[in-house]
Amino acid sequence: MSATGAVRADAVADGTDLVEAYFERGWTDGLPVVPPTRARIDIMVEALGGDPAFLECKVPPRWGSLTREVLAINLVMAGCRPDYAPVVRAALLALTQTAFNLNGVQATTHMAAPLVIVNGPIAQRIGMNAGHNCFGSGNRANATIGRAIRLVLLNVGGGTPGDLDKATLGHPGKYSYCIAENESASPFAPYHVDKGFAAEDSTVFAIAAEPPHSVTNHVANDARGVLDSIVSAMSTIAHNNAVSSGHCAVVLGIEHARTIAGSGWKRADIRHYLWDRARNRFGDLAFEHRYGRIHNRNLPAWYGRDLESRVPVVPSPDNIHLFVAGGEAGRFSAFIPGWGHMSNPVLRGIDGAAPVSGPVCVDGACQL
C-alpha cells in the first residue's frame, strides 16, 4: 500500500514531458526538477519516519502546510537522496522557529538567503563537501539539500520573486546555500560543540545571510595578521550588519585557521578580537548628517552617536558565528554578513539531538 495519497496528483497523458509540466505550473526554482513518482515519494516519506500527513511546520509568508508527504515531493524534485532528508527537515524546522523570522527573510528587499551549515558525523556520512569549493558547485549533498530548502521556500512558502519575495537583487545562494564545517581539518572544536552539543551529535545552523565575501591574506604568519584582514572586510558601511546590527558568520579557511591556532588562539579569542577591532566610524554611517540628522534606530541604543564614535559591526562577540571550512590549500577566509537584528540565527539538532549544555534551547532548537 502506498504511504502517500493525501496530496493532489493531476493525471496527465502518458508521454507528457514532466519536466516541462512542472515548469509550466511554476513549481520550480528555474532549473529542471526531478519529476516525483509515487515510489520515490514513498521512499522519502519513509526516510522522514513515515506518517505522510504529519505536519512538520508551516512555511511563511504563504503559510503552506509542510507535511512529510509535501516535504518528500520537494526532496525528490530537488534530487536529494533519502539519507539527506533528516538534514533538510532539521533546516526547515530551524528556519520556521519564530526567532528566525522567516516571514521577513522571505519577503525583504534585501538579498539575504538562509545559509545552512551542517555539523557532526552526518555530514561525512552523507558525503557533504566541507573542503575545496564547498560554497560552489559539484557536490550532490550540498547542492540538493540547499535546493530542497529553496524549493520548499518557493513552493510551500510562496517566496516567488516579485510576488512575496521582494528582493531587489537576490543572490546566487537563493538556488542553494548549504555547506558542512570541515571538522576533520579544523584545529578548533566544532561549532556545535562550542554551543553545547556533543561531538557525536549532528546539527544544522541557519542564518539569513549575504553571500560570502572573500578575505585574502598571503602574508601574515600569526593570528593578529590574518584576523586584521577579516576585520577589514567587516569594517564597511555597505553590508547590512553595519546599518541593521544583528549576527554575521566568519568562515576560516584551513590554512588561516592553522596559522591562528599556531598563535595559541581559541574560538573565543578569535570572536572577541574580531568584535573588538571591526568598527565603523559613526560619522561615515551617518554620512556626516549631510542628508539630515541620522540617529539609526536599528543600531543598539548603547552605541555612540558622535561622529567620531567607533561603533561595532555586531553588538557582541557571540553574534559572530565562527566556522572552519574549505580545502587544504589556499590562504583565504570569508566574511558573511547577516540580514540584521530582524532575524536571529538558529542552531538545531538533527533527529532530536539536544544540547548537553550551553545556551537556552527549547524543542531541540537554540536561539543564538
Binding site: 496530496v7 493525471a11 496527465v12 515531493i73 523570522n101
Partner: protein
C-alpha cells in the same frame, strides 16, 4: 495509461476575515499612528499626520512604535491601539 503530477505546494489553512467598516468622516475621531521603525517612516508619518490633523481635527492623536519593522506588532500593542483609537495610520518609509 497516465502519469501523475504531484502538487508540491501544501495546503493553506486560513480563515477569511472581513475588513473593518470605513468611517464616513475623520473629524472628532481618535487617530493612532503606528511607526514601523523603518528608516524614514517617522518622517513620513509625522508629515502625513500634521496634514491630516490640519484638515480633519482629530479628538486625539497617539503615536506608537513597533519593536521591529520586519516583525508583526506585539499582540498587546495591537490591543492597546484598538482600544484607544478609532482609526490608525501606518506606513513604511525606506
Amino acid at each position: 495509461m497516465t502519469l501523475e503530477l504531484f502538487d508540491p505546494r501544501g495546503v493553506v489553512e486560513a480563515e477569511a476575515r472581513a475588513l473593518a467598516r470605513r468611517p464616513a468622516a475623520l473629524a472628532g475621531l481618535r487617530l493612532g499612528v503606528l511607526d514601523n521603525t523603518k528608516w524614514n517612516a517617522n518622517r513620513l508619518l509625522r508629515g502625513a499626520t500634521a496634514k491630516l490633523r490640519a484638515t480633519h481635527g482629530f479628538a486625539a492623536v497617539t503615536y506608537y512604535r513597533k519593536e521591529s519593522f520586519s516583525k508583526i506588532a506585539a499582540p498587546e500593542l495591537v490591543d492597546e491601539i484598538a482600544a484607544a483609537n478609532d482609526v490608525v495610520l501606518t506606513a513604511i518609509g525606506d
